[in-house]
């Protein structure tokens, strides 16, 4: 195995540990926002798709890259928006009216 491959594996394993430790502490209250959030963050594949769409390696790769950018970008935009919409709704107590922005719009 090459050294780069090994470094990649290190990063993966360590990130998985960090993820495990953090996510175990996410309360069930926020499990739906968590799924929306990981989905949004996961759309980082847009970065790989952008390289494919922009490196000019033939028509097929470019078109597939374009579709991949669009698919991933829809998750970036939609994912972060919906996560924010949800998180804005969670309030600690009933004192006072909910902040106006909590309805979803900014």
């Amino acid at each position: 195995m090459t050294l780069t491959g090994f470094a990649q594996l290190y990063v993966f394993v360590l990130a998985a540990f960090v993820g495990y430790q953090m996510i175990m502490r996410v309360p069930p209250l926020l499990h739906t926002p968590l799924m929306a959030a990981t989905n949004a963050i996961d759309a980082i594949t847009v970065v790989g798709a952008m390289v494919l769409a922009g490196e000019g390696h033939g028509r097929l790769a470019t078109v597939l890259g374009f579709i991949a950018v669009a698919a991933a970008m829809s998750n970036v935009v939609g994912g972060f928006l919906i996560t924010d919409r949800m998180l804005a709704m969670f309030r600690r107590d009933s004192n006072g009216a909910a902040p106006a922005k909590a309805r979803g719009m900014h």
């Binding site: 993820g19 495990y20 799924m35 959030a37 579709i67 950018v69």
Partner: protein, 467 residues
Amino acid sequence: MNRDLIVQIAYLVSSILFILGIRSLTHPDTARRGMQLAALGMLVAIVGTLFLYQVVSYQWIAAGLIVGSLIGYPLGMWVPMTAMPERIAISHTFGSLAAALVGIAEYYNLYHYGPSPHGATHLQMVALGLEVLFGSLTVTGSFMACGKLQGFITERSVTYPFQNHTNIAMFAVAIGMLIYVIVVPGAQTVFYGMVALAAALGVLMVLPIGGADMPVVLSLLNSYTGLAAAATGFAIGNYVLIITGALDGASGFILSVVMSKAMNRSFTNVIFGAFGSGEAAAGAIRSAEGLTVHPIAIEDAAMQLAYAREVIIVPGYGMAVAQCQHQVRELTDLIERRGGQVKFAIHPVAGRMPGHMNVLLAEVDIPYARLYGMDDINGEFPQADVALVIGANDVVNPAAKDEPGSPIYGMPILNVDEAKSIIVLKRGMSHGFAGIENDLFYRDKTFMLFGDAKDSLGKLVSEIKTM
């Protein structure tokens, strides 16, 4: 400054912001700010990528970003909270589609692009193979899940003879093909065959899964999307993809385990058990014949609620279907104005995805301090004057505690049966998704309020107002 360095710094910054974003989700007060930082991280990564020296033309990138944003905006802003499970499922489809397409195009170019295509190495094939395998499995699997949740594919479990054998055999063949292309990277037919087989497997794996098992399946697909992204990172040598993929993979995995535990079932049982098909349960269920239910009139139910000191509301998927969370809020306010106390008891698998009920109740401004998890509320049912069950069934079925023959025996449930009085809002006497008779509905202290939950709650509210 060197362009490559700019890109690497951008990726490092976005990785840190992503981790901080996920970490912020450990508390509702910090979560929103944290996720906004994560969104900033995404922006940094996207802008940074434009500086990569491989990127020579921008028109297709720009077109893709614009089209994606146009699709994403309505998916983010206009989808109602009740439709969250199918919304999440469809975004799994998009996410894994991106990963699968990148993998396929990378592989194609290794053999078709340039003056002398040099082909793939074994190591590259491990990454590319896993990427397209998880990717295309999740594309079709999530689409099926979305269809079942949305209702254009039957939500009931679809079964046929030798189903599990077929699925296991197909899975084994797909793994065999993966190993083959790792050993012989040039076997292009096998590679594309594997893509097709994985896509077919995604459909067949989700087909037998009933509605009640959706929380587990959605979490599992979440995990697969993450693994596909991480594999993409390995394939194109990008650390930020590896990190986020690992985070997402871990998250999906943990959620699947939590959900399975909340149903007292193993992963394998969910995937191969075809729960909710009804037939599996048929032998074991005690027949309801000879038992009678006690229907209750609106006035009597209103009376009970109006004079109760402690009310525990137990929401289930029925609340999402009837979209009656606003009426629930109104009723809560009324009871409290009259001096009663209202708490919400939320089972981990209530609804069709993890945490679904919490989001719906938060939507109508019910403070999260009032939403109780199963372990926190179960001890309080004996003190509750009324337990109001809204569209929940299997998660309150006492058979899980005292009927060893029942298919849900051993599943942790909300101890609704210990409340002094129980009112159940229900459409009719249909079974829950597990297809099991619910003994709770026949108890002497249980009163059934039949009808559409939204309608019934509206009537309850106006009735209590007149008192």
